[in-house]
Amino acid sequence: MLDALLDPFGQALMQRALLEVLLLAAVGGTLGCWIVLGGLSYGAESLAHGMFPGLVLAALAGVPLLLGGAAGILVAALAIALAARVGRDRIGRDDAIAVAVTTLFGLGALLALSPAVPVGIQGLLFGDVLGTSRGDLLAGAALAALVAIVLVLAHQRLLAVGFDRGGARALGIAPVAVDALLLTLLALAVLVAVQGLGNLLVVAVLVAPAAAARLLTRRLAPMMACAVVLGVLAGVGGLYVSYYARLAAGASIAGLLVAVWLLAQAASQIRKRMLVASG
């Protein structure tokens, strides 16, 4: 039994994958709570998909994916902001963002179909957690630490603005500045997570653990702790599934993240029924 648990992590490749998964769970769990509470899930998904051309171009040019991803996110954020502004009165904000994001994603796919892309479109779309290098880990850890520090420092303001914007303004806080900060952190987190989970699955780690934790907890600090634990469980579990069932690691992790959310949903429903029955 113990052998079965330890066996996968005998290889350096799996050890790095484990560290990467822990990093993702930490960033996704904490920042994810603000994303879920702030209703930013759709924004997270849009950013992740909209950055695709940046990743493909980086792969084509042979520069680090992190740089391509950063440039891609910047372009995506500008395109989304522009689409939201221009399209608001004509086709509605969400639809305008969807058009912008799909356009960017299509552009990325077009570029990715060129024979010159070395890693192939798969690694970019679905990530390659098993291919995490030392450099990836270091860069990821640095970005994750930055996100964590800012989240701790800005906690009170994030809370006040999320709770009620008008009241926060009366307390001397600029809600727009806090929004911008949260979106910047979101961009950084997507950048960290896209390495491991790829363009399509990155949203799972940013949304699912926090959404599940929200169902199980009643305060923000426990919610964050719970989200990190759930993210670790799904991440490590996904690595086992991938190792023993020979499935893609990113997809296994994303699948378990969704399963965790479904379980949390079921648990909270059962608890509600029991409360109704007993009270």
């Binding site: 509470l37 009170q156 307390l171």
Partner: protein
């Protein structure tokens, strides 16, 4: 209704300590908290939303701010909070203003306790990188105790009753150590018992030397307070309720959309039905 200093009669000037209220000029500067003179307030890039506002708020005073939606009540509050600059005229503030917003503006599904919300009141006094200190937490607890929520400190905000949530927001304002409280329709959605309790609390807070501006749609309640400020994009009237709230002032304030019901003419109290109130969100 509830025990009230001005309760039971239209003569709100009877109380000795408020004797000067009927005459704006003689009020000593020591008691004055807010003074607005010829104030006009505009949102950036727009024509003034409110003009010609001249009033004062003294310690221990509760002023009802009456007016239709869009009449300038919120605009006045935002000017007093320093969020909007006067387009004309002046505001003199002798003390900090703190706002008590409507409870339905806040997120009831947010995972915060009453203490978490009250603690937000300590944000303005703290450097942005600092976390709440033990002193801050003690102040927040004391403020919650002051509004009668000692038992509910750790309760989830969204699960409190409407009246208790309003008290939490008042506690958040008290934590800011502000002498001037701006309440935005605090009685909306409260049952009779909670409303009566809240009115007692407001009277006590005023008696402690605070000045309170209360935006309200309830004329009957406004008559029991010390003065009324009637706004309809400009100041319609300011003064003691009994002398100020006549039919012309109300018609000008509410633009003729007011229906006066006959009955109880002997008390001098007009019962009025106001148009339904819509909340409009600011961005």
């Amino acid at each position: 209704m509830t025990a009230d200093r001005a309760g039971g009669g239209e003569d709100a000037r009877a109380t000795p300590e408020r004797g000067s209220c009927a005459h704006p000029e003689p009020t000593g500067p020591a008691r004055q908290l807010v003074r607005a003179q010829g104030l006009a307030v505009a949102y950036p890039g727009n024509a003034p939303a409110l003009t010609d506002v001249t009033f004062e708020l003294t310690k221990g005073e509760r002023i009802a701010v009456l007016g239709p939606n869009g009449g300038g009540k919120t605009t006045l509050f935002r000017a007093l909070l320093g969020e909007l600059r006067p387009a004309a005229g002046t505001i003199e503030l002798r003390d900090r203003c703190a706002s008590v917003p409507q409870t339905e503006r806040s997120r009831l599904d947010f995972p915060v306790s009453a203490l978490d919300v009250a603690l937000m009141g300590t944000i303005p006094t703290r450097a942005w990188w600092r976390r709440p200190s033990r002193v801050d937490r003690a102040a927040a607890r004391a403020a919650l105790g002051r509004v009668g929520l000692t038992e509910q400190v750790h309760d989830t905000y969204g699960e409190l009753s409407g009246g208790q949530r309003q008290r939490v927001l008042i506690a958040r304002a008290l934590v800011q150590d502000a002498r001037v409280l701006l309440l935005d329709e605090p009685f909306t959605g409260l049952d009779a018992t909670s409303a009566a309790g809240l009115e007692v609390l407001l009277r006590e807070l005023a008696a402690e030397g605070r000045g309170i501006l209360i935006a309200t749609h309830d004329l009957e309640q406004a008559r029991r307070w010390d003065r009324v400020l009637c706004l309809n994009r400009r100041q319609i009237a300011f003064g003691v309720p009994a002398q100020t709230l006549d039919h012309e002032v109300l018609a000008a304030t509410y633009g003729g959309a007011i229906v006066t019901l006959p009955g109880e003419p002997a008390t001098g109290v007009h019962h009025a039905i106001l148009p339904p109130h819509h909340h409009h969100h600011e961005h």
